[in-house]
């Protein structure tokens, strides 16, 4: 029974310096409704937390939110129990972060997809419209029918941001292409309803679309399944989802929430963490389109060339991608 523990002890002893700071540094992360295994947004955050855990050996405290009142309660508890930094994942958490961060000015906070203007909060936002633009271009280039689809989770500003960028990308390649846009629902179940996602994708295929992009969390799993079943193409979201259906997933609009979480933890530990807004786009490698062994055959060299050109142009400011602004 004792034998497996000895290497562990040795490892701890070897990284004595780390162990000492591990005792002081206590990071925490609060996931949103989707849960840490949504294969998309929250999971991406959890990948970042896992990476930090693995590389430093420091335990990361985690919590998955179940109802709205829990947010403040849990953040307060993390703060009270001596968390060094608390990362809140998702736009819905911004107001809770604002309340709790005021009560605990010595604790560091970071909110992803939200904006909180306090001296101890870092607000990380992504330019999702830029990766959506590239995915729109890829969809338009890959489409044979001249119509493509978009399945969103809920009709909220964040998802409109994806949709607007996607439309602009499609129009950039072929202004005449038609874009079908559907939202899944109006309840939180909209993010966790693969069967509805699959139905929406099928209806868009029925109307002639042959590529469909989802920005719908776990609902997107159904969208991608429907595309794979129909022998058509889908585009993943947030995490790199190319591996889910090799040969059917054209690309993914990757949002490097994992890098953001990892960076926040690392900087906080090193003492270089800074409060304030941080916006991550193509230029900062915060968002991108994915290209790996699973979709290599789907993205032709011409497509890749054009996408990379557009990417460079967006970074250089030659292409301006429209950004959805809430009313």
């Amino acid at each position: 029974m004792n034998s497996p523990r000895i290497p562990l002890l040795l490892a701890l002893a070897a990284t004595g310096a780390c162990a000492a700071s591990a005792a002081d540094f206590s990071p925490a992360i609060v996931y949103d409704f989707g849960g840490k295994f949504d294969r998309s947004f929250n999971q991406s955050a959890s990948v970042g937390a896992e990476r930090f855990k693995k590389e430093t050996g420091i335990a990361v405290h985690e919590f998955e939110i179940q109802n709205a009142s829990q947010r403040e309660q849990i953040m307060r508890q993390f703060a009270r129990r001596g968390a060094s930094i608390i990362v809140a994942v998702g736009f819905t958490q911004a107001s809770a972060v604002e309340t709790v961060a005021k009560e605990y000015p010595d604790v560091k906070f970071a909110v992803i997809d939200g904006l909180v203007d306090l001296p101890n909060v870092e607000s990380i936002n992504f330019r999702e419209q830029e990766s959506s633009f590239l995915c729109g271009m890829a969809a338009a280039m890959a489409s044979k029918t001249g119509s493509v689809g978009f399945v969103g989770g809920m009709d909220i500003p964040l998802i409109r941001k994806f949709a607007l960028g996607y439309r602009a990308g499609v129009a950039y390649v072929n202004p005449k292409d038609e874009v079908f846009e559907n939202m899944t629902g109006t309840t939180p179940a909209a993010w966790t309803n693969p069967s509805e996602g699959s139905e929406l994708a099928k209806s868009q295929f029925g109307r002639g679309a042959d590529v469909v992009f989802h920005a719908a969390g776990a609902t997107g799993i159904g969208v991608m399944q429907a595309a794979a079943d129909a022998g058509l193409l889908s585009i993943g979201c947030d995490s790199n989802q190319d591996y889910l259906h090799p040969g059917s997933v054209l690309t993914s609009a990757v949002k490097r929430v994992d890098v953001a979480v990892y960076t926040v933890f690392t900087e906080a530990r090193a003492g270089t963490w800074k409060a304030g807004p941080r916006v991550l786009g193509l230029a900062e490698d915060g968002v991108d389109y994915s290209l790996d062994e699973y979709n290599r055959k789907l993205v032709t060299p011409e497509m890749e060339k054009r996408l990379n050109q557009a990417k460079a142009d967006i970074i250089a400011g030659k292409i301006s991608v429209p950004e959805y602004k809430a009313p």
């Binding site: 109802n67 009142s69 911004a94 107001s95 904006l115 109006t186 309840t187 809430a326 009313p327």
Partner: protein
């Protein structure tokens, strides 16, 4: 229920629910053991999480307040023979009523805003429930179907309003701006602080008093007024009601309106007591938990109070459990809550017959 299975009152309201609860916890314990944690430690954490500290108690009572409102809503409809599944939507729309008043008059005196907001929340919830009530009474559309549909319409309406109309300008999250200072339901810890008792901060607020008042009013209405009598007669036998000169149609609409008004009060607790803004999906399933609460509380205000307290404790204790035991994630907590609902609500008759047989006086037992 067969007449032979009738239990003495103490067994009906005390022993039987306790046995059901134990059975649910036994199976939950087995599952917790399966994933490699100690069930004993888990239940201890849960109990301590619900009642172990002042703020835990505050949160437990805060959640319980939600469930009292939705539980009463289900119970009133149930006494009229109606299964109101629409508490969630009625509470959501009630939140619109509460929120609009709070946004408009938030800077006025609380003495004006609070009664106005309560009335407005009730009115909005009641109006939302009246529609299925009217459809049931006048058109025969089944209340279960129409209230479920109304839930979806409510969330579509609220999402639309929050995203396009009420959203605080210049932000991502579909939420309104914060209510003014006059629109806050006074938290209990602040009131206690005024009389010199220090109590840890929590969202536990004066809406809980409103919940107690609602319990008393519902009891008085159902068992001490002619309208309440009419409502119960319609629930038990609509033909007899007609014979007695009671209009079932009218009674159904009245019952649903009251039911919706009670559900709408949830928003007073959630929005004025805790969130101080309207946000997406703030009822968070409390409308559905209300069904379980009413079932478990035998549709009686006292039973509903007790059941709400249990579910409040399960919510708060459960969240504490998954906070302290990383292996017990939120799905596990939902499983425990689900088992309690299953045993106390749906399977309550499993132990009834054996218990009745056991408790029946020997002489009264039918000879074989």
């Amino acid at each position: 229920m067969k007449p032979a299975d009738k239990l003495p009152r103490w067994a009906e309201f005390g022993l039987l629910p306790a046995i059901n609860l134990c059975a649910a916890l036994l199976i939950s314990g087995a599952v917790i053991r399966l994933i490699g944690e100690s069930p004993w430690a888990a239940f201890k954490l849960m109990a301590a999480g619900a009642f172990g500290a002042q703020d835990s108690i505050g949160y437990t009572l805060f959640y319980a307040t939600d469930f009292v409102f939705t539980g009463l809503a289900v119970a009133v409809a149930f006494h009229a023979g109606l299964f109101n599944i629409g508490g969630e939507g009625q509470a959501y729309v009630g939140g619109l009523g509460v929120g609009l008043v709070c946004l408009a008059f938030g800077s006025c005196s609380p003495w004006l805003v609070i009664p106005l907001a309560i009335a407005s929340g009730c009115a909005f919830g009641a109006a939302w429930a009246f529609v299925p009530g009217w459809l049931q009474a006048r058109r025969g559309s089944h209340i279960v179907i129409t209230t479920i549909m109304a839930n979806f319409i409510a969330s579509a309406l609220m999402t639309y309003l929050l995203v396009n109309v009420l959203i605080k300008p210049g932000q991502q999250s579909p939420e309104t701006r914060e209510f003014g200072p006059g629109a806050a339901m006074p938290p209990v810890h602040e009131l206690l602080a005024r009389i010199g008792i220090s109590f840890a901060p929590s969202p536990f607020n004066m809406a809980s008093l409103l919940a107690l008042v609602a319990c008393a009013l519902v009891w008085a209405f159902l068992w001490r007024t002619r309208w309440g009598y009419a409502l119960r007669v319609v629930g038990q036998n609509p033909q007899a009601a007609v014979y007695a000169g009671i209009s079932p149609e009218r009674t159904i609409m009245v019952a649903m309106t009251i039911s919706g008004g009670l559900a709408g009060c949830l928003a007073v607790n959630e929005l004025m007591g805790s969130q101080h803004r309207i946000l997406l999906d703030f009822p968070g399933g409390a409308g559905f938990v209300g069904i379980a609460v009413a079932l478990m509380g035998r549709n009686h205000p006292v039973g509903i109070l007790a059941a709400s307290l249990l579910f409040g404790a399960l919510y708060q204790g459960g969240s504490q459990l998954s906070f302290d035991m990383p292996h017990v994630n939120r799905d596990m907590v939902i499983l425990i809550q689900g088992l309690v609902i299953l045993f106390c609500g749906a399977l309550e008759n499993v132990f009834r017959a054996p218990l009745a047989a056991l408790l029946r006086p020997r002489a009264a037992r039918p000879s074989p």
